[in-house]
């Protein structure tokens, strides 16, 4: 029976670590946020979010007529509308930190927020290359 207590406490600890960790990761603050919009592996836009005064929409057109509209504001980025069938990227909602990217698999569009201070383009290319 002595195992029971250990097992249950370890389990509770794991859940707590998971919750706290998720919370911390979700609220990770980065300064100097840059939005990178990538289509089919090519970087299309790199926008410093602090320099965005008024929210605006960027339209990304694909080879076969796919359209993704990305709404960019000072605080957050979101996929406003997309032509993809599942619409997962729109459902994802707005992102404001570097944790989870917005991915539209059907249209091969990838939106990501990075820290402009410690992130180099050449670095990414070397990694993906």
């Amino acid at each position: 029976m002595k195992h029971k207590k250990i097992v249950i406490s370890v389990f509770i600890c794991l859940i707590l670590i998971g919750i706290i960790g998720s919370y911390l990761v979700m609220h990770k603050q980065i300064s100097n946020r840059n939005v990178i919009i990538t289509q089919d592996g090519k970087e299309l836009y790199r926008i410093a979010m602090d320099s965005v005064d008024k929210p605006y929409v960027i339209e990304i057109k694909g080879e076969n007529g796919e359209v993704n509209n990305v709404l960019i504001s000072k605080e957050k980025v979101q996929m406003e509308s997309a032509s993809c069938p599942d619409g997962l990227c729109v459902k994802h909602g707005a992102i404001s930190d570097g944790v989870l990217p917005i991915v539209c698999l059907p249209n091969k569009v990838y939106i990501q927020i990075v820290d402009g201070n410690d992130y180099e383009t050449e670095d990414l290319d070397a990694k993906v290359g």
Binding site: H3, K4, V7, V10, F11, L14, I15, I17, G18, I19, I20, G21, S22, L24, V25, K28, D86, L88, K91, H92, V99, L100, I102, V103, K127
Partner: protein, 165 residues
């Protein structure tokens, strides 16, 4: 370990059961935008075989399931992820079920699920050559707790039924 025909047939039955579960599970879209989160239902079979037979048998079932499963559903990359996750998961579960004498199967399953996710993250870090994916770990830890609990209880129920037979 007996190498009788009955044993062989049973193992291949378990393999095909887990393969079917694996393929069906791949069709379920989970509305959480984090890669790597899944129910891990196929682990029920691995856990069952590990508990009922031996680690060797569970290993065979696992490897065959991953090989055939990737052939049917995924790509080479998903095969690498499944391998590193699955093997780490099985080793951890075998270790735990020995320590706990096969009791607390749900806990064994939870640890297995978490180890599976750790293995996948390590594989992702090696394949993509980036450490950024480690930020997924807390979410995967949490999902591992939940899905591991579910599959663990499922395996326990199956074992109970099997023993009562």
């Amino acid at each position: 370990m007996q190498r009788s025909v009955k044993h062989l047939v049973l193992l291949s039955m378990f393999m095909s059961i887990s393969l079917v579960i694996f393929i069906l599970e791949a069709q379920i879209i989970i509305p959480i935008p984090i890669p790597g989160i899944k129910l891990g239902l196929a682990n029920i079979v691995t856990l069952f075989v590990l508990q009922k037979y031996s680690i060797k048998d569970a290993f065979v079932v696992l490897i065959m399931r991953i090989l055939l499963g990737s052939l049917f559903t995924g790509t080479l990359v998903s095969c690498i992820y499944s391998f590193s996750g699955g093997i780490l998961c099985l080793l951890g579960m075998a270790f735990l079920s020995r320590i706990l004498n096969g009791k607390y199967l749900w806990f064994t399953s939870v640890c297995g699920a978490i180890l599976h996710n750790i293995g996948q993250i390590i594989a992702a870090m090696t394949v993509m050559q980036t450490v950024q994916v480690i930020w997924y770990m807390p979410f995967l830890l949490l999902s591992g707790c939940v899905t591991g609990l579910l599959t663990g209880f499922a395996a326990m129920f199956v074992l109970n039924r099997w023993n009562k037979r």
